[in-house]
């Protein structure tokens, strides 16, 4: 072959191979859009979860977030397709267009971008490659290798705590931490009301969604100070079965949404729900939100959604509150040591106890007493953060000074009681159907949306705490064949502290509601509707390690009576009661409630007494038998079946 031809064909071959080995063209928006449409990827449930969409009663599903910047499309909050298209268009934009590469969609929305890239099968080298330094540095610095859902538990003197609260614990890996949970990270979601929010408006604004909610990230030790030390609430850590990909996605989601605010703070958008939805978005096969069984969500319900999912919880850890630590230390003391503790506290000084302290059998014994006292006064003063005390500040300093001279280490305490684990509690709403015989033969139907009374199955609950919302009772009287709303309790709370008398807390109760009263009219025999609001305060006495609790309270109610005769009344009274528990499933509650009703016209004395026996049958059923005395003409016995949902 002539050499010119050879060279020419070689050149042709070279040019051709060069043409085919040119770098692939960058992905175009047209290509992305057609792939998206082909797969209808915007309808994928995982995409909706990443956008935090929830079903709405009167409209199509919508995101709980509405802050500008949470979505690329102006309709992103309600249109998953538009948002996906906007994201696709944004991720192919050249990096040069962004003076700050962190503003590029691939850096701003790492979770959504990675979803799109993976599901569309896009090759990374066909896309822009901005340097997303901040998130990478954060991941590198913290090396998160596990995540737990943390639940802050109950405290008897704070009935609102009965609903609990959930937040996340991001555990740092071994290379980033020595393993102390204090140095892990807490991720909390909460409303951030403006500083001038006040009082009643605060409640109403909260109810109608005026406060933006937001994620906060902080060292875990802040939460320990807040919950364990300031609020006296134990922490239960439920470690989740998340793999590395899930953890990466979780961090990416928190990154995308760190400044996102959920503007609508309805009851069904509260913080525990957002945390639950965050878990759903991070781990694709989770359906925690769908598994919730009521439209209203109590934080402990979200915890149960997690623990009821097989294989999701790997391990359970526990961090005790100051109160729990004190009770445990106190139990470890002998009688002499206990008496010393009592004396030091009541004196608010070490002076009177010094001789006896130094006469104790060993320095270890003295250390135990001092450790117990300091725990008690930390509990009494709710010592947390930088606070060094109010009432007992000087005593605390003296105790620590003496303690530092003893080399004995503090006793180890392992106060965790697995049968009090909050996820074991019965479900939050309760239905009841029963028959009542005696002076008022009737069939009663009852519904209580939330939450727990003194006779419900005690497993997973603290003893002596009752909180009930919107307890509704309908009564169908068999003799008169009429159906009435017998009772509506807007709220009823009862707190019966069952601790050793060393911690003196009063027993108290509070109740607001309405009921059908049979003591109306001039003769006091008519039936009418009575609205009441009132409360009481008193004492409890505990026997047999809380198996028997006696309480006595002084009460007063304000009544609004609609019988055309009296208008208002004040009704002071006394309540004496006893609760005997045989294990967590059986309880007997006896009470007498004499009272005197004062109206503008006259006064009447009322007697009321009740004996109620409750037997739980597993976690979802219970039977109740009661005998009620409301006056000589009004004695009845009832049997009720209850179902928890």
């Amino acid at each position: 072959m002539p050499s010119v031809k050879r060279r020419a064909s070689f050149l042709l071959l070279l040019l051709t191979s060069l043409f085919f080995s040119l770098p692939s063209f960058a992905a175009t928006t047209a290509e992305l859009f057609s792939k998206i449409e082909e797969k209808k990827l915007y309808a994928d449930i995982r995409w909706r979860k990443l956008l935090f969409y929830t079903p709405k009663p009167f409209s199509s599903p919508r995101s709980i977030f509405d802050t500008p910047g949470t979505f690329l499309s102006p309709d992103g909050m309600r249109d998953p397709q538009k948002e996906m298209i906007a994201l696709a268009a944004a991720i192919v934009l050249p990096v040069e267009d962004f003076p700050d590469p962190e503003k590029h969609a691939l850096c701003r929305f790492p979770a959504r971008s990675k979803f799109l890239i993976k599901e569309l099968g896009l090759a990374p080298d066909t896309l822009p490659q901005p340097e997303c330094k901040l998130v990478e540095q954060w991941k590198e610095r913290n090396k998160i290798d596990r995540v737990s859902l943390v639940f802050s538990s109950y405290f008897t003197n704070n009935p609102a705590s009965l609903f609990g609260h959930t937040f996340l614990q991001l555990h740092k890996g071994k290379d980033a931490s020595s393993g102390s949970k204090l140095l892990d990270l807490a991720v909390n979601y909460a409303a951030h009301p403006p500083e001038d929010a006040v009082g009643l408006f605060y409640y109403l604004e909260g109810a109608f969604g005026k406060f933006p909610g937001q994620y906060d990230v902080m060292p875990f030790y802040v939460k320990i100070q807040e919950y364990n030390n300031y609020e006296q609430r134990d922490l239960w850590h439920y470690e989740l079965n998340f793999n590395n990909e899930d953890l990466e996605r979780l961090i990416d989601i928190l990154w995308e949404l760190e400044h996102a605010a959920a503007g609508y703070f309805y009851f069904d958008d509260n913080c525990s729900l957002v945390i639950l939805m965050t878990l759903d978005a991070a781990k694709p096969n989770l359906q925690l939100y769908e598994s919730l069984s009521h439209p209203w969500i109590i934080p402990v319900d979200t915890l149960k959604a997690v623990t009821d999912t097989p294989g999701l919880v790997r391990a359970i850890d526990y961090t005790p509150s100051t109160r729990t630590k004190f009770l445990e230390r106190y139990q470890q003391l002998n009688d002499d040591e206990k008496n010393l503790v009592k004396r030091i506290i009541s004196d608010n000084s070490l002076l009177g106890a010094t001789k006896d302290l130094n006469a104790l059998a060993s320095p270890t014994s003295k250390a135990k007493v001092l450790d117990t006292v300091v725990e008690l006064l930390d509990f009494k003063d709710d010592i947390a953060g930088s606070d060094l005390g109010k009432t007992y500040k000087t005593l605390r300093m003296e105790i620590l000074s003496q303690r530092s001279q003893i080399s004995a280490k503090p006793e180890t305490i392992s106060p965790r009681r697995d049968d009090e684990a909050p996820h074991l509690g019965h479900r939050s709403s309760r239905f009841g159907l029963g028959y009542r015989g005696g002076s008022e033969q009737s069939i009663d139907a009852e519904w209580r949306p939330a939450f727990h009374d003194l006779l419900d199955n005690a497993k997973g609950f603290p003893s002596g705490l009752q909180i009930e919302f919107m307890n509704t009772k309908l009564r169908y009287r068999l003799d008169e064949k009429d159906l009435t709303l017998k009772d509506f309790t807007l709220i009823k709370i009862m707190s019966l502290p069952t601790m050793d008398p060393i911690i003196r807390s009063p027993a108290w109760t509070l109740g607001v509601g309405g009921r059908q009263d049979t003591n109306c009219g001039s003769e006091g025999t008519d039936t009418c509707l009575v609205h009441y609001a009132g409360g009481g305060i008193g004492e409890t006495v505990v026997f047999f390690r809380e198996h028997l609790v006696l309480y006595a309270m002084l009460r007063a109610d304000i009544l609004a009576i609609s019988d055309g005769y009296d208008q208002f009344a004040i009704e002071p009274g006394i309540t004496l009661g006893s609760i005997a528990r045989l294990g967590q499933t059986t309880g007997l509650h006896m009470s007498v409630l004499p009272s005197k009703r004062f109206t503008s016209e006259r006064q009447r004395i009322f007697h009321e007494a009740k004996v109620e026996l409750s037997q739980a049958l597993g976690k979802r059923f219970a039977l109740r038998l009661d005998a009620t005395y409301l006056g000589d003409e009004n004695v009845s016995v009832g049997l009720k079946a209850q179902f928890y949902q």
Partner: protein, 194 residues
């Protein structure tokens, strides 16, 4: 059924939304005393041996106390500069607003730790053990098997000298002085700062 759900959620939310997780935010509270403490942190101490690193003055953390929020079931952590929590630990902001170098990050972490855990640390240092004491050792880089017992013992035997003040900043300075004066700890603890 949907209408029922709506009614339930409205009525329930009137009652419960106010109680549930309304506020665990970090409120900014300009308390004069705390501001003073924050300022002194940025300036040199009299002895000149402890000087807050560059940039920290703007992130001064005088103290952290907790306040009950009577309107909700949560409390509020009140600092003299509300920004520090999310600036330091927030995912997007990192430490970029407060500090310039890793050494300063360590300084801020020491400061925040001792302030937030002050009461617990004072207790556990006197006891010679505890999870706060061990975590503080970790923050200072004194947490390995040989160093930790020395650290714990030194904390206990010097408790009076270290916790001679109610101001976390001063206590931190005392603590670091005591540690650096101990030959073994001065060489084995990794994050004591200058």
């Amino acid at each position: 059924m949907k209408l029922k759900k709506l009614i339930y959620s409205i009525v329930s939310s009137l009652l419960m939304a106010g109680l549930l997780c309304s506020s665990a935010s970090f409120a900014q509270e300009k308390v004069k005393k705390k501001k003073k403490a924050a300022k002194s942190e940025g300036a040199s101490e009299g002895s000149g041996s402890y000087r807050a690193p560059y940039g920290m003055a703007g992130c001064g953390l005088g103290s952290i106390i907790f306040k009950s929020n009577t309107n909700s079931s949560q409390s509020t952590a009140v600092t003299s500069n509300a920004l520090i929590m999310n600036q330091l630990f927030g995912i997007t902001s990192g430490t970029s607003n407060c500090v310039e170098t890793p050494a300063e990050t360590a300084a801020v972490e020491r400061q925040v730790f001792i302030t937030a855990n002050f009461s617990s640390l004072s207790k556990e240092a006197a006891q010679g053990d505890g999870m706060h004491l061990r975590a503080f050792a970790d923050v200072l880089g004194c947490a390995d098997a040989q160093t930790l017992p020395v650290f714990a013992d030194l904390s206990r035997t010097n408790h009076g000298r270290i916790f001679s003040s109610e101001e976390p900043t001063v206590v931190l300075k005392n603590y670091l002085d005591v540690i650096k004066a101990n030959k073994e700890l001065a060489s084995s603890c990794e994050r004591l700062g200058a």
